[in-house]
């Protein structure tokens, strides 16, 4: 019986399809572990946390509606990547005049306070979320994570990683000129 010789090309075709998919995954920078963020483009979740600084009022939504873009940074004293991004946070606050609101996540207030006292406190206001209840509202998966909220209280960026130099290109334009303009 005669067999269709084109059938022999079928495995080769499958291989080509697989190789194409893997190649695209590699070259297009696809990250299958990336969670993404459905919060971008929406109003920021509620900010409600007791202050880490004794005698100061708790964090509330008013901090996000000042007409100026702000960064909301979740950190913890036990988190090494937070330590790594801390110098950049300090630089943003001191040299670029960026308003940063800090939230210590699953961190004993004493330890978070000691961490900030040792390294410097870049935050305009800083609270703590010991049980991670508020963080769940923000779709947090861990620390550090940083949100950029524009002057109208809309989330513009959600970085699920320590902030590094490579992030400044997309952060600074939004922080400086982007007073409410879309990303």
């Amino acid at each position: 019986m005669k067999t269709n010789r084109l059938l022999f090309l079928l495995p080769l075709l499958m291989l080509a399809i697989l190789a194409g998919f893997f190649g695209w995954s590699l070259l297009a920078g696809r990250d299958p572990q990336s969670i993404g963020s459905p919060l971008v483009g929406r109003a920021a979740p509620h900010l409600a946390a007791p202050s880490l600084r004794e005698g100061q009022p708790p964090l509330d939504d008013a901090l996000l509606h000042t007409g100026k873009p702000v960064l909301v940074n979740f950190f913890a004293s036990w988190c090494a990547p937070c330590l790594a991004e801390h110098p950049l946070m300090s630089r943003l606050a001191q040299r670029e005049g960026v308003t940063i609101i800090g939230v210590a996540w699953k961190n004993k207030p004493d330890e978070a306070r000691a961490w900030l006292a040792r390294l410097g406190d870049p935050f305009k206001a800083v609270g703590y979320d010991l049980e991670g209840r508020m963080a769940l509202d923000w779709g947090l998966s861990g620390v550090p994570e940083t949100f950029l909220i524009d002057g109208q209280g809309i989330v513009r960026l959600h970085v699920r990683a320590p902030i590094g130099e490579q992030d400044l290109d997309r952060l600074l334009p939004l922080l400086k000129a982007g007073l409410g303009s879309g990303s």
């Binding site: 979740p45 991670g132 963080a135 769940l136 947090l140 998966s141 861990g142």
Partner: protein, 216 residues
């Protein structure tokens, strides 16, 4: 309490008795029924998967708790990709389990709880991705390949059946030769049949039987 040396066995003695009993349990031929049962039970307990849900997290209402468990099985842990929130011992999974229970107590439906999670973590948080345009290939790809393959096989089978390969008819020479062979074979077979129908010698029988027993 300090054990008196006269009453308690020495360490060496104790370990040997333990060893002996363990070996006894492990040897399948010797173990009595209840001992083997005990071993099976022990292994079953050891093999039980560690439960991530802590007793303190559970709701007092069994119906609500059952719903919470079902929902947590549909939610993906956001830090350990291939585990559900119900299976994961991660901190965030613990928080999500607690939040799911809090929302259920507040009166949310199962779907509302899932939607609440998706609004914060996206489709990523669902173990089963939603059926959408972007996920069509994911949902229908494998069944489609299966269907195409089955259709191809069916087509090939039908083509083969519709065109059966008939053997070419015998030529005259071949027919004559075949007749000759068959007749020859029939002649040879006839005397053999006679020989077979003869009864075997009576002395052969017990010999045969004993040999069979010895071999078997």
């Amino acid at each position: 309490m300090i054990p008196s040396p006269s009453l308690s066995p020495s360490k060496g003695e104790r370990s040997t008795t333990k060893k002996r009993s363990l070996f006894f349990l492990l040897s399948p031929a010797r173990g009595r029924g209840w001992e083997r049962g005990l071993l099976a039970l022990l292994l079953a307990v050891v093999a039980l998967p560690a439960l991530a849900v802590e007793p303190a997290e559970m709701l007092p209402d069994p119906a609500l708790e059952a719903r919470a468990r079902t929902i947590s099985r549909e939610l993906r842990c956001v830090v350990c990709q291939n585990q559900s929130v119900d299976d994961s011992a991660a901190d965030v999974a613990h928080d999500i389990r607690r939040a799911v229970r809090e929302r259920l107590v507040a009166g949310d439906s199962d779907q509302q709880v899932l939607d609440w999670m998706v609004a914060r973590y996206g489709d990523y948080v669902l173990m089963k991705p939603p059926f959408e345009r972007g996920t069509l290939v994911l949902w229908l790809g494998a069944p489609l390949v299966l269907l195409v393959g089955a259709a191809g096989l069916a087509l090939a089978a039908r083509r083969r059946r519709s065109a059966p390969i008939a053997p070419a008819p015998l030529s005259d020479v071949e027919t004559a030769r075949l007749d000759l062979i068959l007749r020859d074979a029939a002649l040879r077979a006839a005397p053999q049949d006679e020989a077979l129908s003869k009864k075997p010698h009576p002395e052969e029988r017990p010999q045969d039987a004993s040999r069979r027993v010895g071999n078997g």
